[in-house]
């Protein structure tokens, strides 16, 4: 086994995990909301990108932008539909409603895009680099750099801007935020839109690496839950570390044991970790 190669693979896989989990981390940690349509939104973003690429003949970047914008709009629409539940912080109903949204998205995508697998062909995926015997693609490089940049951007947004302080204030006490003159509904819409945009960015980065299917969804983002919990729920820095660590673990586990059981092994790690360190990788 080439250890350096597996480390790089792990870093790429882990960046993907972290990227897919970023929106969820903000949603849960910053706004105390959940979205179980996350996986189907990932799928839909990949298909919108694929459609714009193959049917409208856009180039990959333009198609990706279309997908991200479309998902932003969808995020706003979903949030508006759920606004009563969100403002009253009714988490149980939100779980069910977002789960329902997920199945509706999946059904609509199945009708619109069909049930057969497609390849989301990104030109950067064809570019190969080799440095000191380690191979990676242009897509890999983009995944890692964009993920790091997104995490840095989100961290700055949450911790260094007035808008970020508003989000943290609402996470702590939405009622009190009203007294402070904050339109909580608008902030929830913005956070949900951000979640949708981030999952769309993750989709156009990560989905080109595997065939896409309208029935994919939950399984594609299952690692999000491991990352979010391992990272210490809602902790942006923790989610990045957890994502990268999990990616490296997955790469080595796949190489040494079997790629078929990496998800099971990741959850085993999660359980072990939660037993020993219930607060996750806490950096607060």
């Amino acid at each position: 086994m080439n250890v350096a190669q597996q480390l790089v693979n792990g870093l790429v896989i882990g960046s993907g995990f972290a990227c897919v989990a970023l929106g969820w981390t903000i949603l849960l940690g910053a706004a105390r909301l959940v979205n179980f349509a996350h996986g189907q939104m990932y799928m839909l973003a990949a298909f919108i990108c694929w459609f714009a690429l193959t049917r409208w003949g856009l180039d990959f970047t333009a198609a990706a932008v279309v997908a991200v914008l479309a998902m932003g709009v969808l995020g706003i629409l979903m949030q508006s539909a759920m606004s009563q539940l969100v403002v009253s912080q009714n988490l149980t109903s939100l779980m069910i409603v977002t789960l329902g949204f997920g199945y509706m998205i999946q059904g609509a995508a199945g009708l619109g895009f069909g049930g057969s697998p497609h390849a989301l062909a990104s030109p950067a995926d064809k570019v190969q680099y080799q440095i000191g015997g380690i191979w990676f693609t242009g897509q890999d490089l983009i995944i890692v750099t964009v993920t790091l940049a997104l995490y840095a951007g989100v961290w700055l947004l949450l911790n260094r801007t007035r808008q970020g302080a508003m989000v943290r204030a609402i996470a702590e006490d939405p009622k009190l935020a009203q007294i402070f003159g904050i339109n909580t509904w608008l902030v929830y819409v913005a956070v949900f839109m951000l979640e949708a945009v981030l999952v769309a960015i993750a989709a156009v980065l990560v989905a080109p690496k595997t065939p896409i299917l309208t029935s994919m969804g939950f399984e594609e983002v299952i690692m999000t839950f491991v990352v979010v919990v391992l990272g210490g729920v809602g902790n942006v820095g923790g989610a990045l570390v957890a994502g990268l660590a999990l990616g490296i673990f997955t790469a080595f586990f796949g190489a040494l044991v079997s790629p078929a059981y990496t998800t099971a092994a990741s959850f085993a790690v999660l359980l072990a970790f939660l037993t020993l360190r219930p607060e996750g990788f806490s950096f607060r």
């Binding site: 007035r162 302080a165 204030a169 006490d173 007294i179």
Partner: protein
């Protein structure tokens, strides 16, 4: 014209009525106190003026700010128009620093009737906050939190300040400081509605007093006149004087 006019305010929590037909007015440069026993409905009354409540409440009646009805506006809109409420209990963000609590305040539009305070003004009133500006709200003492809560309400450019028991849990010396600051603001023309359980303390600083019992306003008058009132002295002042150290 009054800064705040509340007419026939009735508040229900679920089925139970916590406030019935309360009518009250606060003029510019007036410090109006609301006093009454625990559970009488004092907080319910001031929160209803702000259109706010911790739990689910249904509020009926009219609230006018400088003559304009705000009864249909959400709490955050009233706050932006200058009804600045400092609720009792948790009234600052513990996860945010003092600076960040201040930074949440939206820019104050330049319009008549608003009392504009700069950050320097507020830190001048409460110098402790300056030393604590990088500390989280949860790391502040009770008194510092109260200063932060009042300070941020001032930064937001109030037309009227609603203070719900700002002195609760404070040392006597701090109570005096806070009430002195409030009095000074009122003397500069600010309208203040102050909830105070202690009738005697309320009468010391206030211009007017409303007495509230079991959800109803049962008395109202100038502080000076109420001080002389035999019945009030017997029902409120005498009893409280004995409890006080």
């Amino acid at each position: 014209m009054n800064v705040l006019d509340a007419a026939d305010l009735t508040v229900r929590y679920g089925g139970s009525v916590a406030l019935r037909d309360a009518t009250l007015a606060v003029g510019a440069g007036r410090l109006v106190a609301v006093a009454g026993a625990n559970g009488a409905g004092k907080s319910t009354l001031v929160n209803a003026c702000a259109g706010w409540s911790r739990g689910h409440a249904s509020i009926a009646g009219d609230v006018r700010l400088d003559g304009r009805s705000v009864a249909r506006l959400a709490a955050y809109r009233r706050a932006r128009l200058g009804i600045q409420c400092v609720p009792e209990g948790k009234n600052v963000f513990g996860e945010l620093t003092v600076e960040e609590n201040f930074a949440l305040v939206p820019a104050v539009p330049r319009e008549a009737g608003r009392h504009v305070f700069s950050r320097e003004d507020v830190l001048g009133l409460f110098p402790r906050l300056h030393e604590r500006r990088t500390h989280k709200g949860s790391a502040l003492s009770g008194g510092e939190r109260q200063m932060l809560a009042i300070g941020r309400a001032l930064l937001a450019g109030p037309r009227i300040l609603l203070l719900d028991e700002p002195s609760v849990g404070l040392a006597p010396r701090l109570i005096f400081d806070v009430l002195t600051v409030v009095r000074r603001l009122v003397d500069d023309g600010l309208a203040v509605l102050l909830v105070e359980q202690n009738v005697s303390a309320a009468l010391d600083v206030a211009d007017e007093l409303y007495l509230i019992e079991r959800g109803r306003i049962v008395g109202h008058g100038d502080a000076a006149a109420m001080r002389q009132d035999e019945r009030i002295a017997q029902a409120y002042l005498g009893g409280l004087a004995e409890v006080e150290p």
